[in-house]
Subunit: 314 residues, 2 copies
Amino acid sequence: MSIYIAVDLGGTHIRAASFRPKETEALSHQKIKTRSKDETIFERILGLIEDTIPENETLSAIGIAAPGPLNPRTGIILNTPNIEAWDNFPIVEKLNAHFNVPVYLGNDANLAALGEWKYGAGRGHDHLVYLTISTGVGGGVISDGRLLEGVNGLGAELGHVTVLADGPECGCGHRGHLEAFSSGTAIAKYVEEELKDKLRVSSLRLSSKRTAKTIAAAAKSGDELAISAFDRAGKYLGIGVASFLHIFNPSILIFGGGVSMSGDLLFDPFYASLKEEIFGPTYLENLKITTAALGDDAGLLGALALVEMKSKIS
Amino acid sequence: MSIYIAVDLGGTHIRAASFRPKETEALSHQKIKTRSKDETIFERILGLIEDTIPENETLSAIGIAAPGPLNPRTGIILNTPNIEAWDNFPIVEKLNAHFNVPVYLGNDANLAALGEWKYGAGRGHDHLVYLTISTGVGGGVISDGRLLEGVNGLGAELGHVTVLADGPECGCGHRGHLEAFSSGTAIAKYVEEELKDKLRVSSLRLSSKRTAKTIAAAAKSGDELAISAFDRAGKYLGIGVASFLHIFNPSILIFGGGVSMSGDLLFDPFYASLKEEIFGPTYLENLKITTAALGDDAGLLGALALVEMKSKIS
């Protein structure tokens, strides 16, 4: 029988799983370590996919979720933080040449939105905004029952929307983006900056590893600097989300990513700011705000949803 | 034969025109003055529509473009600056009860985008962003060949997206929106604020009527304050548009509205800022930036496009 393979090119692992059409329970799954300097990475991915195809099954299509920037129309990964050697890497063409089946590529945040819509927290919502808050801030949008991609598939970059012109530098080099305030990286960077003031009292001064996670722990113990770092992240997240609601008027907003697990620490200031910034009450009245349901499988199930969407086989 | 009626509820005039299906040349058109305090306005609109139906023709459907906020799903105008008496006014239900034909309602900026896409500067572009810059800043988006409305039809409010958190007050009462920098109102307000500094030298100090238009004229004569007002409007317009490109990745960006007629005065600083702020060159490589083609007819033809989209008659 025919099967699909979904692949998730994550920062730590590259995972693959096989599925029967219209099913979301994997028949088999495999993973390998991502090594950013590995020149043989593509060959290892070929091996991974081959190992994931169960015996006596016929591969019908492959879906791949990868961190951007990438072009889903041409199937080219422009560059990726996870694999150094890939610069304008035509992964779709190369996998297609090897397996001789259709191959579909998508941005991991976009596909997580697609996965949550098809199989997760967003089922039944045809106007959906998904935000993943981890080292960066990524976005995915379902508008009127379709994945928002734009003409070259570069849309829905919700982390790279300016909320404070001439503000702090973002990971992308530009200034004042949402990611520069509300990502885990931004939370840690803010604490580093504040600690340069020798008079700033904080338990974090003695910490050897200051990440969003350790800062969250310090905040929960009452550390004022740590609390202020999350207040700031939540405030600007509320400002950014208000803009996204004015733009998309969705019926559901889904948060994914590790930093969104910080709970009230992030979401109390977020809600306060969102209520302050929203244009009119109607935007919030019928809006469900929730967390992602697919967890670590968001990329895999998003890649599966992409294949299901693009394929016609049954 | 059957005809459609399109109605544009403008600030100065309410216009109506009749069209045969699939044609954009009006069979007849009529207009009446908008009087914001007129309690008989609805009856006058009924008369206007009746006067616009040519003899021996059968009315099939009505489309209405109105300034927001309104709900196109329920057909209710929540309130409109143009007509004071209309508070939660169920215009669709009331017109439908009178004429007994389908009636469709849309936000004027959204419908202008639809009109430009179907009949104007945006033909052939299924990923389109339209911005109208006049007293306010309005937006309309075509995403993958569909008008972006959101679940309650409140989407695409591109003027009410925050570009500078805690920035200057917007017409809507919130702070730092694009409209608070780049609208005609914002340009005039900036000049007023600057003139409070008695040492600020400007030919505009002697002007009795300071509007975006007279400020543009002063700028063209070399007035530094006037030039700086447009520099500021253009800078933030570039920042906002960069975000919209990151979100929608369109193939065309269309500017409408009176202030967008200011030419290089606005667009030189806009382009400089956009190039500075854009996330990657691909967003601009295949992007056409142009001005609206439908002019004053944008509302009427947008309402017509809405009827065509919703109707099935031929």
